[in-house]
Symmetry: C2
Subunit: 173 residues, 2 copies
């Protein structure tokens, strides 16, 4: 079970941006498909791209407002829509650990699995060849043309499991 190809990274750490696994940046992907962006939208896309970890709409709004205080949340949602329609971001719930909001992340690397600790709220990410294989199998057997896949796990992280922590992370962040 060791050395299975599965790789894990904590999410407090900046996302690996530009290592061998990654494809294009969001901006590159948009431009190369002929989408013209306003300055406003470019700024939003950049913030999302540069974010460490997962951003929700209001987090993205907050960051965008540091550049331009007059950005409105409607613009954030409309820009996220644009990215979603093009399959450039993944939309996550992180097991509703912090209410109903959605989290977004640039889809510029390899698909990964999100693990949410129900005790401490920590989010971990893992990739696995088995995951890719499973997707292939689903495609083959169901005939589905897969466009998005989301695998989320809830439980207790190694540390909390050892401490015997209760589930308490459900409070608002």
């Amino acid at each position: 079970m060791r050395n299975s190809g599965l790789a894990a990274t904590g999410s407090q750490v900046p996302k690996e941006n530009g290592n061998g696994l990654n494809r294009k940046s969001l901006l590159e992907a948009l431009e190369s498909s002929g989408v013209r962006l306003t300055a406003q939208r470019r700024a939003l896309v950049e913030e999302l791209q540069n974010a460490e970890g997962h951003l929700d709409a209001s987090g993205l709004l907050e960051r965008a407002r540091r550049r331009n205080a007059s950005v409105d949340r409607a613009t954030v949602y409309r820009t996220l829509d644009l990215l979603k329609k093009r399959g450039l971001v993944d939309e996550l719930d992180l097991m509703h650990l912090h209410g109903e909001k959605h989290y977004y992340e640039a889809r510029t690397g390899r698909d990964h699995i999100h693990l949410a600790c129900l005790s401490c709220g920590r989010i971990e990410e893992v990739t696995s060849p088995l995951y890719d294989e499973l997707k292939k199998q689903i495609r083959a057997v169901s005939g589905f043309a897969i466009e998005v896949v989301r695998l989320e796990v809830g439980g207790r992280c190694r540390v909390c499991a050892r401490k015997g922590n209760l589930k308490t992370a459900k409070g608002k962040q």
Copy 2:
């Protein structure tokens, strides 16, 4: 890739209730863990158990009201909370095909994957040994004590993919 152990069922068909794969009913699970239910809650649990396919909160409310017209939605949500806390239901989003509501299903069988067709809205379910293996691997490598897992796929079903259908299922149901 054939005969891989992966099994698929369309969700218009009643859930397999009582075949070899299933564990206990929700009621059995609750009673055997010493939970006492009011008539109201028992009715809700039964409706959820008997539902074909996936129910959202208002669907559950509607069914419950056929028995007792005075049930309130708050009671539905409170009962669902009870079940969630005990890990007896799975909470799904079905790729937000119909807005932000959640869908619930009794967790009395084997974990399965949900495939949502973004064109026609059809939901299919598949199980796969690979899925179980992947969960085992995640557990082994991350150290997570896994309590819930949710794998959702969005795309176009075999029929819509063949027809070249566009994505249109996003309208409210």
